[in-house]
Symmetry: C2
Subunit: 332 residues, 2 copies
DNA sequence: ACTCCCCATGGAAACGATTCCATCAGAATT
DNA sequence: AATTCTGATGGAATCGTTTCCATGGGGAGT
């Protein structure tokens, strides 16, 4: 607003005041070698002038803009908010800015965002991939450093298999939940899945074994409506259902709402286990039994991996935890 | 990973292929004047080479890195997640990247983040300010374009009064809630406030009038523990309390938990109105009556304002809405 | 026919940092 | 004493874009 906008102090100013060349200033400031006396003079001048190196100049020279990019499906979903929080907290310790983009679980938008990353010369990305991940291949070849979080891509291309991934141990989580439910006597167990949760569905199939009934596995899109429709549909279509595993907190919410609407009481008529522990799970009536995922940790570890240069593990599996509250009961 | 990392195509390559100078290419691509024939040749070459202008070069030249910075207290809080979503959705329509930082409601961290914005030459910020906002004054003078969202600063400095702000109409929200509660017969109404919610507290005082009892206004920090302590403390200290207004969803959650713990039944023994509608308010038992705030709109409008160059309104007030569910009853 | 003006155009400067390379002084080695 | 080595130092190139300015050609106006 009408400010005179004085020129910012550059490395040149510092060099002049310290009576040295710009190269020396740059070296001193980035830890290169210099004599003690020179170093002091430069540091002194920098402090006096309140010099802050311009990220712009550096970025152009190094052909890369620092910072971490983060691509998630939906920031309003608690699990991704926590993941984001983890990334931010790791990035902060490296003093790196974080640029965030939401994909809406849409591969097209995701590809679009990857494009704009390239345009910005960002070369470090933590991403929750949406599609089959084919848009990543060229970007990775172009030098992009990617770490997947929370999911990995189906992966047929070679390059994608090299991408490290930080994941919750879904298989173990699903298995534990299923064992818990079968232990309670349940035989007809449904699974409310979001599209793209292939791994969880697969684990569900494996865990159920003989009890598997494909008709009890239903898929929804990420939207609230779709989740509700899937839940209500399943409940109406299969009154013999006695337990449900919800693949995410939105689906869990939908299941609770649908059950309430259809006058199916939890846990008397229906047992419910939800993926992802959220604050409200405890406030819900009844309090929900959940498979907690370490969302914040996933983000933190993924950011850590993307910051590391050297060899990195291909996959990090983080443990889940079954938290038993009040939404499951014995089969009646 | 060991890729040859081929040089990216620059404007020079395009110029060469089109047989024109780089200046002409730049002009064509940024909508300057050029003959139809030249334009076509340039566009053709650009397409053929899959040329994407480097944001780095442009930023350095223009002395500003595009994009919007967003500073919020806590991304895992639903209200700020929605605000962020709004900012992202506006930014996307301008094709601008969004850099995000969390302040933890700590002025020191906030100042630190503002510093790093300057370093990055970001000049557009949407911020939920934490402290008294003094750290903003120099930054604004240095040419930073700021829009406050959700809160405004206490503001004693001239420069801060010029900063546009997009806010929920807290006063009206509080007034409506208080009127609703007094209408139900309540006389002893408490307020669980977060530090920094001066405006809401003030509105609360004004709305209560004669009924005001300063002892019923308690403050908590943003943390979960602090919120719980404040809620439990209030409930224990003043058993004569018959209704509570919670200043945010964390405080509402704390109130529900504390009431449950102390065997205070809602709404029989205590009526509860919570600021901020969250998905779980409906799932809670009983479903919570809330003052809904348009979090996403606040973010969108704030981002819109920060993108506009020209004259901007000083303050945008967005309406709140009282959503009556089941957490309030008549005084007993 | 002469002048004037406008527009398209390209060369070159600028942005602010890092880094290559040449230089030079002084120490260490032969 | 001559040579080599080491480490500090500064000049200049470089990154990719935008934008200033000079140039030149062609059309319009007198």
């Amino acid at each position: 607003m009408g400010s005179p906008a004085q020129r910012r102090t550059t490395i040149k100013d510092v060099a002049e005041m310290a009576g040295v060349g710009v190269a020396t200033v740059s070296r001193v400031l980035s830890g290169g070698s210099a004599s003690a006396e020179t170093r002091e003079r430069v540091l002194d001048a920098a402090t006096k002038l309140d010099y802050r190196p311009s990220a712009l100049g550096r970025n152009l020279r190094q052909q890369r803009s620092g910072g971490i990019a983060l691509l998630i499906p939906d920031i309003t979903d608690s699990i991704y908010a926590r993941l984001t929080d983890g990334v931010l907290s790791c990035a902060r310790s490296y003093r790196e800015p974080v640029t965030i983009g939401v994909t809406g679980d849409d591969p097209e938008q995701e590809a679009d965002l990857v494009g704009s990353l390239l345009e910005q010369s960002m070369d470090r990305v933590v991403a929750v991939p949406s599609g089959n991940g084919e848009m990543w291949t060229p970007a990775i070849r172009a030098g992009l450093d990617v770490v997947f979080a929370d999911r990995r891509v189906s992966g047929e291309q070679r390059a994608l298999d090299e991408v490290p991934a930080v994941l919750a141990d879904d298989r173990a989580g699903v298995r534990t939940a299923v064992e818990y439910l079968t232990g309670l006597g349940h035989r007809k167990i449904g699974f409310l899945a979001r599209h793209g949760q292939a791994e969880r569905v697969e684990a569900f199939r494996a865990a159920l074994g003989d009890l598997l009934d494909e008709d009890l596995i239903v898929h929804a899109r990420a939207s609230r409506d779709s989740a509700y429709a899937a839940a209500a549909g399943l409940l109406q279509r299969r009154p013999d259902l006695s337990a449900v595993l919800a693949g995410g907190n939105k689906l869990g919410e939908a299941a609770v709402l649908a059950a309430r609407e259809l006058d199916v009481r939890i846990p008397r008529d229906l047992s419910l286990v939800m993926f992802d522990d959220v604050p409200w799970a405890e406030l819900c009536s009844p309090p929900l039994t959940v498979i907690a995922q370490p969302g914040q940790d996933i983000g933190y570890r993924a950011a850590e991996l993307v910051m590391r240069q050297g060899r990195r593990p291909r996959t990090v599996l983080l443990p889940t935890e079954l938290i038993i509250r009040g939404s499951c009961g014995p089969r009646r």
